[in-house]
């Protein structure tokens, strides 16, 4: 703690160096900002006075007013996302009003876009930052084509990878920025909404854990609570080089959501309504079986090709059976989606507001999967005094998600069908035990009532100083429940007698920041900006779990249960306290050098570990503004930048502690309190520390109609926290966390923005994003055996390989040597511990495996390309689309492995006409390797297409409004891939996360429903 005080003192001293301007006489500046091309007023433009911490936003008429400006020559700057900065000198006289009108032009590279640091609350222009920060503007996205935040992020920023887990409405996604840093902790980025750190847990309903409600694989996510319609923009801070000030949380990058704000002017209302359909367009394979006779002429019900090759049976003629229950008696339905919303924004120069509400309902394609959500938002900004502004942001979410059983569950439609019968029958209709609709009555759901609120105060006690205070809360009351009503099905005793889970959670995140920034001119061409501050965050999860069974018919709560009561409670709180200092020097507004330092302490650190310090340095140079820069026609802008920084990730709750869980033990008729070891702690546990170097440039070409942004990054996580698997002979827990690993990610990112056509009423804009990622586990720790996980030991963390590498014996070759049309393993050698059948005089071995296990692939993409385009014609038709390519990743087609090698009902097990490669991977699986089912999962997807028709202005006016449009949008429209399963990016193990053997690197397609196709129509009406 004393170190934090010391840091504060140092920061204090540094900050005192610049002491600047004194009070003087004042005047006012006013004016209007318009689009250079159209002449239309621009609202929301940030107006500032160079060298002073004063500014405002333009209203709906593009007008602004800045009172209380010190007299003298000033420079007025105007900045707006997507536009080039403009500035104009003005002389401010005492008591007078100076007028400045500005015209802004759209540019591909906007160096003067403002980005906000959520920790300090201070904003800076992009040109000042040595890092790349990508901004996704909501007004550039057809909201009809995206249903949630994850879809907003998909394929729109280089280095940001979103993997859909399946086609479940309300399901979660895997989100990664610049690869995966951590072996055993979460790799999800930090999520901040309006400066408030919010819960970003991927775990929820569906996650595995003691007393958790489970539905086979899919789970919900807190990411998608927020509605795209309430979002103004999303900023993506990629990694430690940019996120050092965010401290012990930001190693995986930061995603900052800014919700919509009001603008000064009359109230502007906006209403929209949307309706659409969801459907599953998927061909499923049939189930197979062949009847045979044994050598002793007894009936063999399942005479597989392998058994035939081994002489164990002979197929009975014409007895090959096949049936496809999923295609014949489909359990899927057409889902639908609807959304309605209304919002108003407006205000005065003193107070602006945004108030909006949104209702969303989506019915998934498999009963009872559905989502019902209400989002309410009220944001208020006020200039309380000339030097004091306040912003209050509030959001409320009420959400009910119902999930269907699927994935690793016999209640699931996919499992019941794909593991079903090879014949139709009246009772089961070819399904495994029952038609899936038999289990639709089981209600598994989650209610969330969530409030996110923030207060931001900006005080300018003197012209050269800003003090920002932020406080925020994100509180979610979550109820996970599962009701199996009694007496409906006699599938099993548990289903018959009925049961009820009712788990209630209070999830809290508290944020408090206080920072001061002073700005002054050291020399006429050299500006200094110093920031010091302190931050506090608290993350809490308080949970009560309840379970009961043997429900009274007609009841549906724990009160109706008669037996099996189980209740437990858990309280988890983690506190981070940090202090930071940042110093920036700006030379002639084109060279910027910044140094920063943050120190953190955290309640989850080991008791023997103290403070962690995260330094950062960055430099930015707008070369094209140098006098020596050649004035070449096609080259309009060039900026070079580089940065180094560190950030961290804390251990989880209790991971540093040795502790015992209370349990009960029965001794004859008595229940006795007992303990069992819950955690094998590590008092030295410290945060993971990720260091990153990034360097890049931005290039503006052809009068800034084409912008190219290129970045190289190289980050290494030291002291990586590894859930080190303990030798069972210790008699301890399965894992213990140690700071022993080292992980590296490096790659290139590029983004190309281009206005390909700008001719009169025709506009064609294109954005191309691309990135690569090379992920390697540099060291797992001395003496640590590879961490092996996933079914059939398919994946592992091992030195020198990507994290979660697929690693198995490879299928080197196969050949039907005896020409019988069947691939067999007869007379194949022993591989590892798997002996193969040896038959004297039998055929030669037809499948050759590698002698040792080999690297087969990585679960995460190593390259990705996003292509977004928008064409506007005649101001009434807009067409947009998105192509998403992910490459280099591997998928585990465990569905087919399970059907063939474990269940024996796939085509390759029975049908001699099955393709030889299908037979070969099945036989290889019997020989001990699932390698044939570990497949390249590269794909190109047509994610989005949208058509927007804008009604002529007079149509809108006749309706009393100012704008009317209709958008028809489709999502998940086509996939091109060599993957032989249903979809290359699904994951049945979406629920696995930090603390499990494989961390969150599990990748498995196991009876998982693929993404569904959406078609929606949306009407927007402004008035």
């Amino acid at each position: 703690m004393s170190t934090i005080r010391l840091l504060l003192a140092i920061a204090l001293a540094v900050a005192m160096l610049p002491a600047g301007a004194l009070a003087q006489e004042r005047g006012t500046i006013t004016g209007q900002v318009v689009d250079q091309a159209t002449g239309q007023p621009l609202q929301g433009v940030q107006i500032s006075i160079a060298g002073l911490n004063v500014g405002t936003l333009t209203n709906q008429q593009g007008r602004f007013l800045i009172p209380n400006v010190p007299t003298g020559p000033r420079e007025v700057r105007a900045m707006l996302i997507g536009y080039g900065q403009v500035s104009q000198p003005v002389n401010v006289a005492a008591g007078a009003t100076a007028t400045v009108d500005l015209r802004m032009a759209q540019v591909a590279i906007a160096l003067d876009e403002v980005i906000v640091n959520a920790v300090t609350g201070q904003s800076e222009r992009r040109r000042e930052s040595g890092n790349v920060v990508n901004t996704i503007r909501a007004d550039q996205i057809e909201t009809a084509a995206v249903a949630n935040v994850s879809q907003m992020l998909t394929a729109r920023a280089p280095g940001v990878v979103i993997q859909q887990h399946g086609g479940t409405t309300g399901g979660s996604q895997r989100i990664r920025i610049r690869g995966s840093n951590s072996i055993s902790l979460s790799n999800q980025p930090l999520l901040i909404v309006d400066g408030v750190r919010v819960n970003n847990s991927p775990a929820g309903l569906g996650s595995v854990g003691a007393n958790n409600v489970w539905v086979g694989g899919q789970e919900t996510s807190r990411w998608n609570d927020f509605s795209p319609d309430e979002i103004e923009n999303i900023e993506i801070i990629k990694g430690p080089a940019a996120a050092a000030l965010y401290g012990t949380a930001a190693a995986n990058g930061v995603i900052q959501i800014t919700t919509r704000r009001g603008r000064a002017g009359r109230p502007q209302w906006s209403a929209y309504t949307e309706y659409g359909t969801l459907n599953l367009d998927q061909q499923f394979p049939a189930n197979y079986r062949q009847v045979g006779r044994s050598p002793t002429d007894t009936r063999v019900a399942s005479c597989t090709l392998d058994a035939r090759a081994r002489g164990q049976c002979t197929p009975v003629a014409d007895s090959l059976l096949s049936f496809n229950p999923l295609m014949t008696y489909s359990p899927f339905r057409d889902g639908y989606r609807q959304q309605q919303g209304l919002n108003v924004a407006g205000g005065t120069e003193q107070v602006t507001y945004y108030i909006g509400g949104d209702f969303e309902r989506e019915q998934g394609v498999l009963d009872p999967n559905s989502l019902r959500k209400v989002n309410l938002r009220a944001n208020l900004q006020s200039r309380i005094a000339e030097n004091l502004t306040a912003a209050v942001t509030t959001g409320y979410i009420a959400n009910r998600t119902m999930l269907a059983w699927n994935d690793n569950s016999s209640f699931g439609a996919m499992g019941a069908g794909l593991l079903g019968q090879a014949v139709d029958d009246t009772v089961r209709q070819g399904y495994f035990s029952r038609h899936p609709s038999h289990f639709f009555f089981i209600d598994s759901g989650q209610d969330v009532y969530r409030f996110t609120g923030g207060l931001n105060l900006t005080w300018q006690p003197v012209q050269w100083m800003n003090v920002v205070g932020q406080a925020g809360i994100d509180q979610a009351n979550r109820h996970d429940f599962q009701l199996t009503a009694p007496g409906i099905s006699n599938y099993s005793t548990g289903v018959l007698e009925g049961s009820r889970y009712s788990n209630r959670f209070t999830l809290n995140n508290y944020t408090a920041n206080l920072s001061g920034t002073s700005t002054f001119q050291l020399r006429p061409d050299l500006q200094s900006q110093t920031t010091i501050g302190a931050a506090y965050t608290q993350e809490g999860q308080h949970a009560t779990y309840g379970f009961g069974r043997q429900l009274l018919i007609g009841t549906g709560t724990l009160g109706g249960a008669a037996a099996g009561f189980a209740v437990s409670e858990d309280v988890q709180d983690i506190v981070t306290v940090g202090a930071y200092a940042r110093q920036q020097l700006a030379w002639r507004d084109r060279v910027f050098v910044t140094a920063a330092l943050r120190g953190d302490d955290n309640s989850a650190f080991g008791t023997d570990f103290g403070l962690v310090l995260y330094p950062a340095f960055s430099a930015s140079w707008v070369v094209s503004e140098e006098p020596f820069f050649p004035q070449v026609g096609f080259l309009s802008q060039l900026r070079l930048r580089g940065a180094y920084g560190q950030s961290g990730q804390r251990p989880g709750f209790r991971q540093a502690e040795t502790y015992f869980n209370p349990v009960s033990v029965a001794l004859a008729a008595r229940e006795v309190t007992a303990v069992t070891l819950g955690g094998s702690g590590n008092a030295l546990l410290s945060p993971e520390r990720s260091s990153e170097v990034e360097a890049g440039f931005e290039l503006g070409l052809l009068a800034n109609r084409l912008g190219l942004e290129v970045t190289y990054y190289n980050k290494t996580t030291q002291d990586a926290l590894i859930a080190r698997r303990l030798a069972p002979s210790l008699g301890a827990t399965t894992t213990r966390f140690d700071n022993i690993g080292r992980v590296n990610n490096r790659g290139l990112e590029a983004m190309l923005n281009a206005s390909l056509v700008e001719r009169g009423p025709v506009h064609w804009d294109v954005t191309l994003t691309a990135s690569t990622n090379r992920n390697r586990l540099l060291a797992l720790g001395e003496g640590i055996e590879p961490i092996i996980f996933n079914s059939v030991a398919a994946q592992r963390h091992q030195d020198g390989l990507p994290l979660g590498a697929f690693y198995q014996r490879r299928v080197l070759s196969f050949e039907d040597r005896n020409g019988d049309g069947i691939i067999s393993r007869v007379n194949c050698p022993t591989y590892g511990t798997t002996e193969n059948p040896q038959i004297a005089g039998g055929p030669e071995c037809e499948v050759v495996l590698s002698q040792s296990e080999e690297f087969l692939g990585t679960p995460l993409p190593t390259r990705e390309i996003g292509f977004n385009t928008r064409i506007t014609l005649l101001n009434w038709l807009r067409v947009s689309g998105q192509l998403d390519y992910k490459g280099g990743q591997t998928q585990y087609n465990y569905t087919e492995w399970f059907r063939c090698a474990n269940w024996g009902n796939c085509e390759a097990t029975h049908n001699a006409n099955a393709p030889l490669d299908e037979q070969a991977r099945y036989i290889a699986a019997l020989m001990g390797t699932p390698a044939g089912y570990i497949e390249d999962a590269s794909f190109v997807k047509l994610r989005e297409v949208a058509f927007t028709l804008t009604a002529p202005q007079d149509w809108s006016r006749r309706l009393g409004g100012s704008g009317l449009s209709l958008t028809v949008a489709g999502r998940n429209l086509a996939t091109w891939t060599n993957y032989t399963g249903f979809d290359p990016e699904v994951n049945s193990l979406g629920y696995t996360g930090p603390g499990n053997a494989g961390g969150d690197f599990y990748m498995q397609d196991f009876l998982t429903m693929p993404p569904v196709r959406y078609w929606t129509a949306r009407v927007n009406y402004n008035f």
Partner: protein, 469 residues
């Protein structure tokens, strides 16, 4: 270009700046930040809370609960009772999980996740008993709980020795959090280690007096000693160890409806999950069903238990008919069986007498007539005439008397190790999965469980020293 002019540094502005920045810093610098970081954790117990004599009963209860989980499981995890039954001819698998299929087929890979849990639970039971025993050594060496902790430690080690290949290490996680890795122990060394524990337990229990509770622990130690000696092939010593144990003695591992952790896994996984079934002549094994022996009560499932998870017919054991059914760990009956075996091995005629005495007077403590109808009507056995047939008969008696009590695997291994039987004579062999069309394949060649791959994090360990019986 910025044109703001600066009026120089410091000067009159500095005091105001100082005041401002101090105001910023004071809220943090002035308060006790340690208090901010001190978050409560009321849901668990720290090691410090479990020190001193008052914690001994809690630590002993900890050893008991960990042993229960490892031995006869819970509704979330099978115990060694399930797994040895599945591995041998007591049970067959009626579900789909590949890791359990490996066990049923006797071809278990060291990376089998289910078996990793089984092994870890057994090692946790051993370590937990050891932790309790150490605490008793420090704070109550003569307390009867000390004897029970040592007994549970001994049985944990016996089950490891009977179930796993040669080469299981016993390591220690110290109170300070450091690791002390053990060397791989041979099967014989494990039984010797168990014997040492039982010897110590018997000493403590004997010193504790002659109250019923003390006698209970004495008999538990005696049966444990006899079982260890039997595994070591010291038949006469085993018989001597067992002779003072009354036939009525029984020590149970209790289960309860109270929590999922306390449910009987043999019930839960069979009745509720429908994943296990009573086997019959599995791979040439014993006719547990078709003999209709009252000691192995079973019934064809009906209604919700009509078929297994794999849709094959489900045969329910009736020995553990509910979640709270207890499982016998050691009994006077076992003591008699050990004496009978020792007599047979020594060529003494009374081996059959002992067996027939049990059949004529089945101990009601272990086999209440209400649960085992027909138990009183077991007909006397006839001497089959040959030594091999006598051994078969004795082991069949053991199998029926001690069905689903984690004895069958140890017996199968002893048949090979001590009586020279082949694998095919001791374990299921041939075509696997005959109970349902969808399953096919052959039994493997494992005669014991491999040690899970995770043990390779022990620097002294590579893999099994051998896979011999």
């Amino acid at each position: 270009m910025p044109t703001t002019k600066t009026r120089g540094r410091a000067g009159s502005a500095l005091p105001g700046v100082s005041a401002l920045l101090v105001a910023l810093a004071v809220p943090l610098a002035g308060c006790d930040l340690n208090k901010l970081l001190d978050v409560p954790d009321p849901a668990v117990a720290t090691p410090g809370a479990l020190e001193g004599p008052q914690s001994l009963p809690i630590l002993l209860a900890g050893a008991q609960t960990d042993f229960q989980l490892a031995f006869s499981g819970s509704s979330g995890s099978e115990g060694i009772v399930n797994m040895t039954g599945l591995f041998t001819d007591e049970l067959h698998y009626t579900s789909t999980f590949p890791t359990r299929v490996q066990v049923d087929r006797r071809e278990i890979t060291p990376d089998n996740g289910t078996m990793e849990t089984i092994h870890r639970n057994l090692q946790r039971a051993r370590a937990s008993a050891d932790r309790a025993a150490r605490a008793y050594t420090q704070h109550g060496p003569n307390a009867l709980g000390h004897a029970e902790a040592l007994n549970l430690h001994g049985f944990s080690v016996i089950l490891l020795g009977e179930s796993y290949c040669s080469g299981v290490p016993f390591s220690t996680l110290t109170a300070a959090g450091t690791t002390e890795f053990g060397q791989p122990l041979t099967t014989q060394q494990m039984f010797q280690a168990a014997l040492t524990s039982f010897d110590q337990a018997l000493t403590v229990a004997t010193q504790a007096g002659s109250a019923a509770a003390a006698v209970q622990q004495q008999n538990l130690a005696r049966v444990g000693r006899a079982r260890a000696l039997l595994n070591l092939g010291r038949f006469a010593d085993a018989a001597a160890a067992a002779q003072d144990v009354p036939t009525s003695f029984v020590y149970r591992i209790f289960h309860s409806e109270n929590s999922a952790r306390q449910h009987n896994a043999a019930f839960s996984f069979m009745y509720l999950e429908r994943r296990w079934s009573v086997a019959d002549r599995e791979g040439g094994g014993l006719p547990f069903r078709s003999d209709n022996d009252p000691r192995v009560p079973w019934a064809r499932g009906t209604g919700a238990q009509a078929v297994g998870f794999d849709e094959s017919p489900l045969y329910l054991q009736l020995k553990y008919p509910n979640r709270s059914a207890s499982v016998v760990l050691a009994s006077g009956l076992e003591a008699r069986l050990i004496q009978a075996e020792a007599a047979l091995e020594a060529g003494q005629a009374n081996w059959l007498t002992i067996l027939n005495d049990l059949r004529a007077n089945p101990p009601a403590e272990s086999f209440p007539a209400a649960q085992y109808p027909g138990i009183g009507g077991l007909t006397p056995l006839a001497d089959p005439g040959t030594q091999a047939a006598r051994v078969d008969l004795l082991f069949k008696e053991r199998a029926y008397w001690m069905y689903l009590t984690a004895h069958r695997l140890g017996d199968a291994r002893r048949l090979m190790r001590q009586y020279g039987r082949t694998q095919a004579q001791a374990f299921p062999t041939g075509e696997w999965g005959v109970w349902i069309a969808a399953k096919s394949g052959e039994y493997g060649s494992d005669v014991n469980f491999p040690i899970p791959l995770d043990e390779e994090n022990n620097p002294h360990f590579t893999q099994c020293l051998d896979r011999d019986p």
